[in-house]
């Protein structure tokens, strides 16, 4: 390679490495700030203050959903399989909201420790299957367990290790 080309290539590599480092460090520093939600364990550990507006992410605990027949009020428990946080919400729930599914709720914790949600979003996991496959898995009795494991994995992936 000719010397002037080598010099130019060197400059480009230097710029690339420098930019990567700068962006990498920024991203690393913002690690916690960029997280979209707190997990129930983080809430239980007191990382959020009473009355502070934040988002909580977890799974809707099996058998915990109570729907009011007269209104759009719902109560359920969100869990990351370590800690539970009860949630109250009034409004329309997204299509994918159901027990055993991930969710992200926005709101505040009241003095009784109940999360008063002003907005509820459903979180979809990375598994897609047809009704037939789901039915076959249910028949084999392995589906719910596997599914729980997947959700647990996705919830605890970004937790700081204690």
């Amino acid at each position: 390679m000719k010397p002037h080309r080598r010099k130019k290539l060197g400059i480009i590599i230097f710029i690339t490495v420098g930019l990567s480092l700068a962006i990498g460090l920024t991203v690393f520093a913002l690690r916690q700030n960029i997280n979209m939600f707190y997990t129930p364990t983080q809430v239980a550990d007191g990382e959020v203050l009473v009355g502070e507006h934040f988002r909580i992410g977890g799974m809707v605990k099996q058998g915990s959903l109570e729907e009011d027949q007269q209104s759009l009020k719902v109560k359920f428990i969100t869990t990351d399989f370590v800690s539970d946080v009860p949630v109250q919400y009034e409004g329309i729930l997204p299509d994918l909201f159901r027990e055993g599914q991930g969710l992200v709720a926005e709101g505040v914790i009241d003095s009784t420790g109940i999360f008063q949600a002003s907005r509820v979003l459903a979180k979809h996991d990375e598994n897609y299957m047809s009704q037939e496959v789901k039915a076959a898995l249910d028949a084999a009795g392995s589906s719910t367990e596997d599914h729980t494991a997947v959700v647990r994995e996705s919830l605890t992936r970004n937790l700081p290790e204690n």
Partner: protein, 247 residues
Amino acid sequence: MWLWFSKLGSPKWFYELSGRWLPWLIAAMTIFITVGVIWGLLYLPPDYQQGYTSRILIVHVAVAGTSLAFFPLMAVAGVITMVWRMKLADMVAKMAAPIGAWFSFLTLATGSIWGSISWGTWWEWTDARLVTMLFQLFLLLGVISLRSALEDQDKAAKACALLSIVGLINVVVIKYSVEWWNVLHQVASPVSLSADSPNGPQFWIAIAIMIVAMYLFLSVSLILATRNEILQRERRSQWVQDLVRQS
């Protein structure tokens, strides 16, 4: 090797070679898009939870995957332009930006439509995947406007190459955003070879066909655009004038 490299850089040689390849590429693209769209949108079994909404993802995943190819391509072309002064690489980089912007826009649009149904929201500013993808669209729009704002072609090429390197790093952030942070967006689905487990062949083969279709579409549009740019920039050369006289 070096002879081949400098030959590749010759716009005339590229124009002739791509002219021979285009019919085949267009034929392959038509087949893949037709099969992919008909299968993916009409016959793909609906997801057990999302129902027919899941078919949006066939388009979304293919378009999104392809949109991540633009900045690596533009960065490599930019480096080749700056180090080896290859005119062709600069033309490719220039023509790739608007196509990439459309792909990024379609990714955001299809994702928003799906999200509004499944998540219950069109847009979340706090989701790192969504925001970094929007950043990619803005970067591409930035590259396009930088190109038209700078009169000096050499300076424009340099500035765009630099922006492309930023875009390249952003592609890495987009890719891993779902793993580095807690976000609403799901992580990449693992491919499963067994037909009776989640993410089985019935899903990923349909998606794979659409991804190949989108890459073919990208190649065809990029080649067509680059051919136009070649004629434009080389309009004073003998071979282009001969070409025009013939037609």
